[in-house]
Amino acid sequence: MKILVCITNVPDTTSRIAFINNDTEFDKSGIQYVIGPYDDFALARAVELKEELGGTVTALNVGEAYGDPVIRKALAIGADDAIRINSFPKDSFFVAKQIAEVVKKGGYDLVLMGRESSDFNGGQVHGMVGEMVGLPVVSPVMKLDIENGKAKIAREIDGGKEFLEVNLPFIAGCQEPIAEWKIPNMRGIMSARTKPLQVLEPVGDETRISLKKFSLPPEKGEVKMIDEDNVEELVQLLKNEAKVI
């Protein structure tokens, strides 16, 4: 079983978001980078499947060298080797194209990634990769088991879940509770230092959208506190001031 897990390198959820260069560039100063939270679920499930069925897990990141610590963390969690495509992830199409190239060459049985990145929240890359390489796509996957070359999947739908089956190989966008996040242990951290991390140059530079400018939402006003014995006042405010009921 050869599994490819695509990971994003994103600011930790607690990060303060700010922009520089006339609001055209994300301000990386003081930012702690992490494996995208959804990708982290995909990675955890990939490592579990490897332990259960044998095989290898390759972690793939499209990004610049500042993402290497995050790739090392994926190796510490249990990936056997890693590939970094050495380029800023320009847009979803560009990233999908890079992943598709690796998928075509690699002969993977399973390609997992998060349902979306937590920076651009597009939720597009898995769908694009599937179409580019001609494999089925399933997303968002909340349960994934493999039996005799067939995957049994639970996919989240509005108000519930849907159960489906698909033959390997395929592409999955993952979310919880597919697996629990794994915290690397000391042995994992030590071994990650010597696991292979291959750096490849990108294929082409085609994009389909281009950034003009970033902006931040307006600051939230002060909270209006209401006495617990006066819920009627809250109802009046919601009706007459906020006009939401």
Partner: protein
């Protein structure tokens, strides 16, 4: 030039978010708006889409398309896009719409932008504003290609409701076995509840509710408001509530007009799922709960006393 809108059904009804997508498609002013309906609904509901801005409805009631299989839907949407000579496809963000649109964008060679929050700026190129960093920022992006796919976030536009009936026509589609490699075996769905991603009012409970046996308080308040119910991550992790109700960074991101959080402290991961709400009410017995800083209105008090009183006050107002 024309606009195609991908319409989703839920239990035979057109989803509210798809109505927004139709109104958005109309407001683009880029020619005739065709709504594509896959699955089974009645004719009256389809002609009614005219009210929201569709001139034409194309549908397929092929039983193979009753369930949302990503490849099959993508194949159909791409075919119909060409058939109606569309230049823009509009869809509403959903767990089905996102991957379908991504597949279609590759088939068509189109620019794709999702989580779009307002109409495009077209004076200089075709620029849309999308929500990024889980609601904490926006990016204005130019869609370079001639063909464009826009995924809208809830409340990206107010509904237009004054159009005339739409014409309705069945569309012929070529489906291949390739499109049906994924087989849906069954589904588990709560019936009759208001869908959380679609809801205009959401009432959510956290650990402060002390256990699933107390959820009737949340449900009663939700019912009085016609609201959907949600929960925090610990509540879903402990199986007090199903995962599809989990609101937050790794759960659903909601954007209702009113979000009421009860017994939720307001961890940053939870806030990431609710920060696009118009108005936030927080009820928590801990005056120091960080959620109050993100709220518009707050009550410090015991949920078990405050919530039933609030439910009664809402009922008194609506009766």
């Amino acid at each position: 030039m024309s606009v195609l809108v991908f319409v989703e059904l839920a239990a035979g009804e057109v989803k509210g978010s798809s109505l927004e997508a139709i109104s958005y498609g109309h407001a683009l002013g880029l020619g005739e708006v065709t709504a594509l309906v896959l699955g089974i609904t009645d004719e009256r509901k389809m002609t009614g889409l005219g009210k929201y801005g569709a001139q034409k409805v194309l549908y397929s009631d092929d039983p193979k398309l009753e369930k949302g299989i990503i490849q099959a839907y993508a194949s159909v949407v791409a075919q119909v896009f060409d058939k109606v000579n569309a230049s823009v496809l509009v869809f509403a963000k959903s767990s089905l719409g996102d991957p379908v649109a991504a597949n279609v964008s590759v088939k068509l060679g189109a620019s794709l932008a999702s989580n779009v929050v307002e109409l495009p700026e077209t004076r200089n190129g075709f620029v849309v504003k999308r929500s990024i960093y889980t609601g904490k920022a926006f990016a204005e992006v130019e869609m370079q290609e001639d063909k464009k796919i826009i995924g809208i976030k809830k409340n990206a536009i107010s509904l237009k409701e004054d159009g005339a009936d739409a014409s309705v026509e069945k569309v012929e589609i070529d489906l291949s076995d390739e499109d049906f490699q994924v087989q849906i075996t069954s589904e588990e769905k709560a019936s009759g509840e208001i869908l959380l991603p679609e809801a205009d009012v959401v009432v959510s409970g956290g650990r402060g509710m002390k256990g699933p046996e107390n959820w009737h308080l949340i449900e009663d308040l939700a019912k009085s408001l016609g609201a959907a119910t949600g929960c925090s991550k610990p509540v879903s992790d402990m199986d007090w509530r199903p995962h599809h109700e989990h609101v937050g960074q790794t759960g659903l991101k909601v954007a209702p007009s009113l979000y009421i959080a009860i017994g939720i402290s307001g961890a940053i991961q939870h806030l990431a799922g609710v920060n696009s709400s118009k108005v936030i009410v927080v009820i928590n017995k801990d005056a120091e709960a960080p959620f109050f800083k993100a709220a518009d209105y707050g009550i410090v008090g015991d949920a078990f006393e405050v919530v039933p009183k609030l439910t009664e006050a809402i009922k008194a107002l609506t009766n």
